[in-house]
Structure formats: structure tokens, C-alpha cells
């Protein structure tokens, strides 16, 4: 069983740069063709400072953590057994190319179902830009298949 004493654990925060090239690559990978996501002139014309990050891009910033999925090491979870259970975002300000975002992630709950056959880790993340402005909050649930 996962160590429930880790509820409340905050991972070391880190910063991630939002790069134009990365945003274009991400747009291509998700089939996004609206020019505001790949053409800076179109983005500025639409009122953005530069290319805006699409709505789910903050999850990409999570991967800029020094360790890949640090929750796995912390809780001793095998990567082959994880599934994504839920994901949610609240938006307060746009993230654009050129921003430097501080990412803070903490574990807010650990619970199990079906007598431990499935375990769940709930994490909350905050994304703050270089001006100290909170841009996005995210909540995600990781599912561990033990059977």
C-alpha cells in the first residue's frame, strides 16, 4: 500500500521556460492548426504577448522537473502500473512563449478502492509566472493498478 503519511508532501519547486519552438512542436503533436498557436504575428494580432500555450500545456511544464515523474520514486510506484484518472485546470492568466513559470506540486490525498487493487494519488499544482502572477492551478489523480 502507498505510504499515506506522504499526504501533504510538497515536491521541490522548479522553473520551466516556455519556449516558442516547444509550443510549435506541441501544436503539431495535437493537430492544432489555428495560426495563433504557431505564428507569433497572428498571436499578437489576437491580443497575446506571444504564442499562447494551449489549455493543457501546463502538464508539459510538469515534465521539466529535474526527475521524470518524481511521485513514482517517492512512493515506490512502478511506471508500468499507472494510469491517469482525472485532470483539471483553473485558469487565471495566460501563459505565453517567453514566460518563465514556477511549478509547485504537492500531494493532497492518497486513497484506495477495491481492497487496495486500485490506489489513487491526488496532486495539486500551481503555475506562477515571472511577475509573480498565478496563471493556472491544476489537480490530477494518478491511478495505480495493483492487480
Amino acid at each position: 500500500m502507498l505510504d499515506k503519511s506522504r499526504i501533504g508532501h510538497a515536491f521541490p519547486s522548479f522553473t520551466a521556460e516556455v519556449e516558442k519552438g516547444r509550443l510549435k512542436f506541441f501544436a503539431k503533436a495535437i493537430g492544432e492548426t489555428n495560426p495563433i498557436y504557431t505564428d507569433e504575428v497572428a498571436a499578437i494580432r489576437a491580443g497575446y504577448r506571444s504564442l499562447p500555450a494551449p489549455p493543457t500545456f501546463t502538464s508539459v511544464l510538469d515534465q521539466e522537473s529535474p526527475d521524470f515523474l518524481p511521485v513514482l520514486d517517492l512512493l515506490g510506484i512502478d511506471i508500468a502500473k499507472i494510469l491517469h484518472g482525472t485532470q483539471g485546470f483553473e485558469y487565471f492568466a495566460p501563459i505565453c512563449a517567453g514566460d518563465t513559470i514556477r511549478v509547485e506540486v504537492c500531494i493532497t490525498d492518497i486513497f484506495d478502492k477495491k481492497g487496495g487493487a486500485l490506489e489513487f494519488v491526488v496532486m495539486e499544482s500551481k503555475y506562477t509566472n515571472q511577475d509573480g502572477q498565478l496563471t493556472t492551478k491544476a489537480t490530477s489523480t494518478l491511478v495505480v493498478r495493483n492487480s
Binding site: R22, F25, F26, K28, A29, I30, G31, E32, N34, A46, G47, Y48, P52, P54, P55, T56, S59, V60, D62, Q63, E64, F68, L69, I79, A80, K81, I82, L83, H84, G85, T86, Q87, G88, F89, E90, Y91, P94, T139, T141
Partner: protein
């Protein structure tokens, strides 16, 4: 564009079938390098029939549907649960509709139910979005 009201449909977005190429590109672009999405040997060893789609790829498709409909700057909230695995070669369609209009923080928000569905009708993502009007 007609006035947005309770019951208004969000224009649907239909996606091509998930290919290994799509998954490789998404793994690279997203930084999610979990081999279960790109390495068939690893996926089979983990008890899966083959590699399968990142949940966040489908969520990004739902996001495209939302920002095709309303400017991204109007998006206040976006959440879903991953109800079923999207397998290789599945073609999903994203859809949604306005279920309520709310007054919140001095704005009118359209509360929307959103979903991604496989060709056989199975829901893969079920969620909600809040969009300022």
C-alpha cells in the same frame, strides 16, 4: 454566431485514428516519455494489448474543440476524468454542450459538459468546462 444559451452545442471535433506516429510525436512534444505509450514490448509486458494513447493527448483534443469554439482567453476551467483507455487505432470524436449559465466574479460563464467518444460509442473522457461569455 447565434447567441450561446443553455442547450447550445459546441461544434464537434472528429479526430483521425490514433497511430503509433501520433503517440511518438505526442511523447516527444509533451515530455511524457512513459514507454507504455510508445514501446509495444513494454506495453505488452505491462499486461496491455499494445501501446495506448496518453490521456492528455485526448484532453488536448477536447481543448482544441473548446478553443475552436471560444477564444482561449475566455476559458476559466477545464476538467475531465479518463473513463476508458483510448487504444491504438481508435478514432475519437469530441463534443459538448452548454448545461447552465452562471454569474461568477462579475462574469457570465457557460458551464459545459464535454466528452470524447470512440466510434463504438464508448466514452473515453467525460468532463466539464467553464467559459466566460
Amino acid at each position: 454566431m447565434s447567441k450561446i444559451q443553455v442547450g447550445s452545442e459546441i461544434p464537434a471535433l472528429e479526430l483521425p485514428p490514433i497511430s503509433r506516429f501520433t503517440l511518438a510525436l505526442y511523447a516527444g512534444a509533451s515530455g511524457d516519455h512513459n514507454p507504455i505509450h510508445i514501446d509495444s514490448d513494454f506495453a505488452k509486458k505491462a499486461g496491455m494489448p499494445d501501446v495506448f494513447a496518453h490521456g492528455m493527448l485526448s484532453m488536448a483534443y477536447l481543448g482544441r474543440m473548446l478553443t475552436d469554439w471560444q477564444p482561449q482567453a475566455s476559458l476559466r476551467g477545464f476538467s475531465n476524468r479518463f473513463a476508458a483507455i483510448t487504444q491504438l487505432h481508435d478514432a475519437i470524436a469530441c463534443s459538448g454542450r452548454v448545461t447552465a449559465l452562471l454569474e461568477q466574479g462579475g462574469e457570465t460563464l457557460a458551464q459545459c459538459e464535454i466528452q470524447a467518444v470512440k466510434a463504438n460509442g464508448e466514452q473515453t473522457l467525460v468532463g466539464e468546462a467553464l467559459v466566460a461569455l
